[in-house]
């Protein structure tokens, strides 16, 4: 298998607080991966480092052999925890925005998905519910033909039906060339769509493996294992 992302002894400190601690991690192409860990374990820090929003304190992070920068931003599609679109923007504005920014944006695919969810293109973001806003943003992010999709808590604020739709969207857009990294602590909701699980705690990788290997070896779901490992 071909390596897509490689972290070597990656560390990130915020002042005296250590968020990532000499993390080693490899991600191959064609995988759907759950980045799982309790609050404050370093999930969002890792995703921000992948997207070049933070610089590492030490260690290396390579995507397709490049450090985060213009080259990698072309191939990484990022769904942040919070929406960053302005409330005055209409769906058409956002479509234009993504078309301008990303050469790999497929607006036909985006329109198809918007129509299927009955989202009107002339609607202003400010007039949408929180869940609808999250759907619009996910559609934009998944409509790029990227190599790596980084989704930070994509199912946090949506209802169960929308959550199913989001998972469907991820499965439908699955490609053998691309990988999807999903950070969440709602594991049972997404377990069936994952290839691999990465458990992180205190900025280190505790365990990685395929979901089916974990179930085979532990005789329990990844969700149950998580609850056991991270029992409070």
């Amino acid at each position: 298998m071909e390596t897509l992302l490689e972290c070597h002894q990656l560390s990130k400190h915020y002042g005296s607080k250590v968020a990532l601690d000499h993390l080693d991690l490899t991600i191959e192409r064609g995988r759907i991966i759950g980045l799982l860990g309790p609050n404050g374990s370093g999930k969002t820090t890792l995703i921000k480092l992948i997207n070049g929003l933070l610089a590492p304190t030490s260690g290396t992070l390579l995507i397709n052999g490049h450090a985060p920068g213009p080259e990698t931003k072309k191939v990484v599609s990022y769904l942040p925890e919070r929406t960053y679109f302005n409330t005055w923007m209409k769906v058409t504005d956002i479509l234009r925005f993504f078309n301008d920014f990303y050469a790999d944006f497929d607006d036909k695919r985006a329109l198809e998905m918007l129509h299927r969810l009955n989202i009107n293109e002339s609607m202003r973001l400010g007039a949408m519910s929180k869940g609808t806003k999250e759907k619009v943003q996910l559609i934009m992010v998944m409509s790029r033909n990227a190599d790596l999709y980084c989704l930070d808590e994509p199912i946090g604020g949506v209802d169960p039906a929308a959550r199913d739709y989001i998972l469907q969207t991820i499965i439908t857009n699955y490609s053998e060339r691309a990988s999807v990294l999903i950070s969440t602590h709602l594991i049972s909701d997404i377990e069936n769509v994952l290839d691999d699980a990465i458990f992180i705690q205190n900025g280190r990788v505790m365990l990685t493996g395929s979901v089916d290997d974990i179930r085979m070896n532990e005789g329990k779901s990844v969700d149950a294992l998580f609850r056991e490992v991270f029992r409070c």
Binding site: I32, D164, I171, T172, Y174, N192, V193, D212, R215, K220
Partner: protein
Amino acid sequence: MAWLLDDSRPIYIQLASKIQSDIISGVYKPGDKLPSVRDLAMDAAVNPNTMQKALTELERGGLIYTQRTSGRFISEDLQKVSAMKAALAREQIHQFLKTMLRLGFKKSEILQFMEETFEEES
């Protein structure tokens, strides 16, 4: 509608046995074309790689076969399907008998109960 999966066993094994029981019960007929991996994965709400693995498992057992360019088909080997059906039946009966014997029933009693219940239900 997502398929019903339990928490303890590997997902691909559960997918394989669901498709297997669909073949045995005749949802898929011998020679039928199976939906694509992606469509099956969508239907089950699982990862396409996991579905792929389940199909590989069924292929190894000979219940389905791949035709190079046109997709996957249900085996036309009726003997294989009925052998699978018989194996499944034996497994179920074995489970049932184990429970009944543990409860202290004798063979004649079990058969009598079976007869009676069968009458009532049909």
